[in-house]
């Protein structure tokens, strides 16, 4: 955890008139796992999508591995410094997994994993297939290689989505509430998979409501509300003695709900 891999400074994002991110400063260090928590609508998804540049920030700067990729021009507005193909390349290094999986339903599990490595990374089919098979073994779904996404359970779909993202060998993984659309009985298998990624020392920014995951796996918990980071710190400290009233209120509610 010596170097920052992703660095956001003063980042704002808008949806039309709506001001969704209101000045976010966040540094993700190499191999670090950050649990991003906060009420629904606080801007967690927007922050992840901005980090991946699916959403273009309106103000602020973003650096990746020490290189500035979004800068502020003289008027204080953000400018993406990557050309189209560089942007595509950047996205291969910052993977994102979505709440609703977003698997490609017309392709088999194997094809889902092989598509981008062959098209974008230029791997030949055999190499891509062999690597995909390894990843499917890692997430425990080798026997589903030829299945169609529609035939999988929610937990299985989400593990395929994780494997699909890992197939690009990203330095950063952004996970957007990837267990919240799942049946309770399949949440565990996905959390185990998330722990496996953490052990590979891939830096992770994980929007989640799973406080057990945050406590056990995260190096840091970041609490967001209304488009801002309110407070952050090591899990033990954040969960035991949050400083900000809003954090305390949120944690009280979510921890109580988890135990009742």
């Amino acid at each position: 955890m010596d170097k920052p891999v992703l660095d956001l400074a003063g980042v704002h994002a808008h949806y039309g008139e709506f001001h969704a991110l209101r000045g976010v400063d966040l540094t993700l260090w190499r191999g670090e796992v950050i649990a991003l928590i906060g009420p629904s609508g606080s801007g967690k998804s927007t922050l992840l999508r901005t980090a991946n540049l699916l959403v273009t920030p309106t103000h602020g700067r973003i650096s990746f591995e020490g290189r500035e990729i979004v800068r502020e021009n003289g008027a204080g507005r953000s400018e993406v410094l990557l050309r189209d193909h560089q942007l595509n390349e950047y996205r291969t290094r910052v993977g994102i997994v979505f709440q609703h999986f977003n698997l490609f339903p017309h392709l088999s599990v194997m094809e889902n994993l092989v598509l981008a490595p062959t098209l974008v990374l230029g791997l030949d089919r055999d190499t891509a297939t062999a690597r995909a098979m390894e990843l499917l073994k890692t997430v425990g779904l080798a026997e589903k290689a030829d299945a169609m996404p529609g035939d999988l359970s929610g937990g299985q779909k989400q593990r395929v989505a994780i494997a699909r993202s890992l197939a690009m060998e990203p330095e950063v993984m952004l996970l957007d509430e990837i267990t919240s659309a799942l049946d309770p009985e399949t949440v565990g298998e996905v959390i185990r998979t998330m722990k496996l990624i953490a052990e590979r020392h891939v830096a992770m920014l994980v929007a989640t409501h799973e406080m057990d995951f945050a406590r056990e796996v995260a190096d840091r918990i970041v609490f967001m509300d209304e488009g801002r980071i309110v407070e952050s710190g090591p899990p033990a400290q954040m969960l035991a003695e949050p400083q900000e009233p809003r954090t305390r209120l949120f944690l009280d509610r979510i921890l109580r709900r988890a135990t009742t």
């Binding site: 189209d84 993977g95 979505f98 339903p105 098209l119």
Partner: protein
């Protein structure tokens, strides 16, 4: 009391039935134009420059919001004056119905693409796929399946509309029926013949399209 006369049927059925190839020619000619142009316009309406998109929207609205018969007449009588050429009734009919069909199919294509949804675009782009690869490998294969059923339905509609070219004298089934009716004054027999021939053709088309639809159903995630 009007008496049903089988003699008329026996005598004129061959003459009316010889309109079948013409009905098929008009229908499939219009379908060919409609599909090719409709796909191109539909794709452009989701990807081209805004100005192009607006122009195409005008085209679509123009053809969807005027009667097909007016379009046919316009292409036969009015367009030749504008272009300073002669257009035969067959060509005018095929082009008019073809452009009308293209307008509808372009909407089917656009709807199919839009219907695949933002989340599939996000997934593809977040893996580093270019816009073009996203379209080719992720969006279009899914959109195509959504387009099959409404397009198949459109083919049946076109076959029905083909009868309208009788108005400008194309010798398809209905027009040949009109000719016989004027000579025999037996509208019941003549137009029953016409209706039954269309019924057979269109039922055949519907069956064929149902088979196509069963083969190409949308996939769910």
């Amino acid at each position: 009391m009007y008496e049903w006369n089988w003699q008329t049927i026996a005598e004129y059925l061959p003459f009316v039935a010889r309109g079948i190839p013409m009905t098929l020619l008009v229908s499939f000619g219009a379908i060919a134009i409609g599909v090719i142009l409709g796909v191109v316009i539909g794709l452009l309406r989701t990807m081209a420059w805004p100005a192009v998109q607006r122009a195409l929207l005008w085209f679509v609205e123009l053809f969807r919001n005027t009667p097909v018969l007016v379009q046919i007449v316009y292409f036969y009588y009015a367009v030749p004056l504008l272009l300073q050429t002669k257009i035969g009734p067959l060509q005018a009919g095929i082009v008019a119905i073809g452009l009308n069909t293209a307008a509808y199919i372009s909407e089917i294509v656009r709807g199919g693409i839009v219907g695949v949804g933002r989340s599939q675009v996000d997934a593809a782009r977040s893996l580093g796929l270019s816009k073009l690869d996203t379209m080719r490998k992720v969006i279009l294969p899914q959109a195509a399946r959504r387009m099959v059923a409404p397009t198949a339905n459109m083919f049946v509609v076109v076959m029905k509309e083909s009868a309208l070219v009788s108005y400008i004298g194309v010798a398809e089934i209905l027009h040949r029926g009109d000719v016989v009716q004027v000579q025999t004054f037996r509208p019941l027999e003549v137009y029953t013949m016409v209706a039954v021939l269309f019924l057979l053709l269109i039922t055949g088309m519907t069956r064929l399209m149902a088979m196509v639809e069963r083969r190409w159903t949308p996939v769910a995630e």
